[in-house]
């Protein structure tokens, strides 16, 4: 790390460094673009994990988290401004495609303009929304959300540039071409899996562009977290990607535990990993069911839900709920496992291979399925990295991005399992990758289930939990991809900023570029194969 730091210091004399779990480079905003390019091209940080907007009352800022897909190390850099009226930074949308979306999110939340971003609209909130909700001085009552009047829509977006005299100039740009025929799909549509909307421009039957319209379930979780104590923030992670409830909980707990210096008992760690993997199996099972239902194969849902129900029974016995478990907590897990836990899990593992065989027989070899999935929605490895598509979808494109392998947490480095990486990158590969992942999850559980160590399940945690001043970043593997948590603390009982990096945002953002040129009828199969969860992208 030291050498990178020296290298950067030599190239960017104005940069200052902040040693945290991830090295943070403070850079003036005129060198932001240059630094980003240099980090990507010269230092190999080619994956933009996220951009976190922050409001520190006297200044607004953005923190960029980068990762290297070969070294698996992270680095971050930060720009800040004291201008609250017209804050503006250089856009990096030309370096990473996904930055377009990330920057739109920050614009929506903080009102920071990104110069040269090709599409500077709000992302989640209405055009007429007053104020920027994640700013600290935002008045929570300032917008009437109960208006039943249809929201105003525009087919134009703004591009901001800095003119020769240093002033910011605005140019209007049409979202669609003048002759585009735009078909609206959603937000209430059975195949968008939630309230997501695609404005689809078609030429005959061919898709030419999709404008993904989000925000129909934007619940403002990140803002809510800022007013809650750390243990209270946990339960929101259950409600973003409700299939990865355990995994997301795990991620947030890890981050808080690391910040507070809490040691988690080994028994709890093992239980957490087993729960994560059970969730993964249940989640992928539901994916098979709903995805096949989109394709008209309704029967599959009943077969796959059978396994899911079996897992939910195990969860109910231990966690007391079928969903939104709230089981992991800071310092361990809420309660010890049920006496039947081991027996039930073993029964599940025994039936799993036969079930998987059945799914393969029912669907994978089917001619219609092959015809509709193979060679559809192809995504190359570079494409996946450009858009930050992680999880099974990214791995089906040949990008090995499994956080359990790259940044092992809990007991993942002690168990044997293979990372499923496939090269085809089409819808079929994404489907198959999930079946194979179930096998690997079962393998992990098999190794652990007989070796749950005895002991405590919950470490001693102070009643009122305060984190020291600082910031932390934690990655875990959710069921749909990389889940990240960024916490910034001023030493109090609630965070100054808590940011969740969710995989579904990327999965939805990439739909546009991988469906263009395909028939509109295939939009549902391609988008469905990415398996996004709408509340997960909207937060």
């Amino acid at each position: 790390m030291a050498t990178i730091k020296e290298d950067i210091a030599a190239r960017f004399p104005k940069a200052t460094f902040d040693e945290a779990d991830v090295l943070l480079i403070n850079i003036p905003d005129d060198q932001l673009h240059e630094l980003a390019r240099s980090l990507r091209d010269d230092f190999g940080y080619d994956f933009l994990i996220t951009i976190v907007g922050v409001d520190r009352k006297d200044s607004l800022g953005a923190i960029y988290f980068l990762s290297s897909t070969t070294q698996h190390t992270e680095i971050s850099f930060q720009v800040t401004t004291t201008d609250r009226e017209h804050p503006a930074f250089e856009s990096i949308a030309d370096l990473w495609s996904i930055a377009t979306i990330y920057e739109r999110e920050i614009f929506d939340f903080y009102g920071i303009i990104f110069l040269n971003n090709p599409d500077m609209r709000r992302l989640f909130l209405n055009i007429d929304w007053k104020g920027y909700p994640l700013r600290k001085d935002y008045d929570m009552e300032s917008n009437n959300i109960l208006s039943t009047e249809s929201e105003r829509q525009s087919d134009f977006t703004n591009v901001y540039t800095r003119g020769a005299d240093g002033k910011i100039e605005v140019a209007e740009k049409a979202v669609f071409k003048p002759n585009d025929f735009v078909v609206n799909i959603g937000p209430q549509h059975p195949a968008t899996h939630g309230v997501l909307r695609f404005r689809t421009a078609v030429d005959g039957e061919m898709i030419t562009k999709i404008d993904v319209y989000m925000g129909y379930i934007h619940r403002g979780i990140e803002k809510l977290c800022e007013s809650l104590g750390y243990p209270q923030t946990l339960h929101y992670t259950d409600r973003m990607d409700y299939f990865s409830a355990h995994n997301y909980h795990h991620g947030l707990c890890l981050c808080i535990e690391r910040a507070a210096g809490i040691e988690v008992p080994r028994r709890a760690q093992v239980i957490r990993v087993i729960m994560d993997e059970l969730s993964r199996i249940a989640s992928h099972c539901l994916f098979f069911g709903t995805y096949c239902m989109d394709l008209g194969a309704t029967t599959m849902l009943f077969y796959t839900l059978r396994v899911r129900e079996q897992i939910l029974d195990i969860m109910t016995k231990t966690c007391g709920a079928r969903m939104t478990f709230n089981y992991d907590c800071i310092g361990g897990v809420m309660a010890d496992v049920d006496p039947d836990f081991v027996k039930d899990v073993k029964a599940l593992l025994a039936t799993l291979p036969a079930n998987l065989k059945e799914y393969n027989k029912l669907f994978v070899g089917n001619v219609i399925a092959e015809g509709r999935l193979e060679n559809m929605g192809n995504m190359s490895r570079e494409h996946a990295i450009q858009w930050g598509v992680t999880g099974p979808s990214g791995r089906a494109s040949g990008w090995s991005c499994d956080v359990r392998k790259t940044h092992p947490y809990a007991v993942y480095n002690e168990v044997q399992f293979d990372e499923i990486v496939m090269q085809e990158g089409d819808s079929m590969a994404r489907f198959k990758a999930r079946i194979l992942e179930i096998e690997q999850s079962a393998r992990i559980i098999e190794q652990l289930i007989d070796n749950i160590p005895e002991g405590e399940v919950l470490a001693k945690v102070p009643k009122v939990l305060k984190l020291p001043v600082g910031h932390w970043f934690q990655l875990v593997e959710g069921c749909r991809g990389l889940f990240g948590v960024y916490i910034e603390s001023d030493g109090g009982t609630s965070p100054v900023r808590m940011k969740f990096v969710t995989p579904s945002l990327n999965l939805a953002a990439v739909v546009d570029s991988i469906t263009t040129g395909n028939k509109i009828a295939d939009l549902i199969t391609i988008a469905g194969s990415l398996d996004y969860i709408v509340p997960d992208m909207d937060r």
């Binding site: 909700p133 917008n143 208006s147 309230v195 849902l301 839900l305």
Partner: protein, 200 residues
């Protein structure tokens, strides 16, 4: 389910009393019974799920809970073919107009079940800047099913309550949905505004 097993029988009895206050015509009364018997046993839901609660609604349709047993199996994707709307999930600002429009598109007689904490009061997101604090401000609600998410059994119980309500209703004359809607509009200025916009 036997009558005693339900928890809020006074409510239904009051409703019946209220309906019968002005007396019932024998012929119309029996016709009512026949029609309501049919309606209450084939309530079709609209597939409407915004978030977590919606997943439990999916489980409701699958083999274990199997809502087809009760005649509710045909979840419709078009509001024009559905009888009731199971609001499973959070309703946020951007969704409000869409949600209200969906409700308006349901054919009369129509019913709404508020399913889960979010639909009832905003649930865990009550203090958020973008979440509606309960759908009752937007549409009239017939049954509330608490939970986060309610387990499928609770949902079944909720829909059963709705069918009981449908059973005692007066289809011909009497208090029907339109009047109820007018009362609702009077009480809720927001809905009145929407009415104005819809009616031009």
């Amino acid at each position: 389910m036997p009558y005693e097993a339900f928890k809020d029988n006074e409510y239904i009895e009051n409703l019946v009393q209220e309906l019968q206050a002005s007396g019932t015509n024998v012929l119309v009364g029996s016709l009512d019974k026949l029609i309501n018997w049919g309606r209450s046993n084939s309530l079709w839901p609209l597939t409407f799920a915004t978030s977590c609660c919606g997943i439990e609604f999916v489980s409701l349709g699958a083999a274990r809970f199997d809502m087809a047993r009760f005649g509710w199996e045909v979840a419709r994707s078009s509001p024009r073919q559905a009888d009731f709307m199971m609001v499973a999930g959070t309703i946020v600002g951007r969704m409000v107009p869409v949600f209200r429009r969906l409700y308006d598109q349901l054919a009369e007689p129509k019913y709404v079940i508020a399913c889960g904490g979010c639909a009832i009061s905003g649930g865990p997101f009550k203090r958020s800047y973008h979440v509606a604090k309960g759908i009752e401000d937007i549409v009239p609600v017939d049954v509330f099913v608490p939970g986060c998410p309610p387990c499928p059994e609770a949902m079944i119980y909720g829909i059963m309550q709705l069918s009981r309500k449908v059973k005692v209703e007066r289809f011909f004359g009497g208090v029907n949905r339109q009047e109820k809607e007018q009362d609702f509009v009077k009480e809720h200025p927001v809905a009145a505004e929407a009415e104005k916009i819809i009616n031009g």
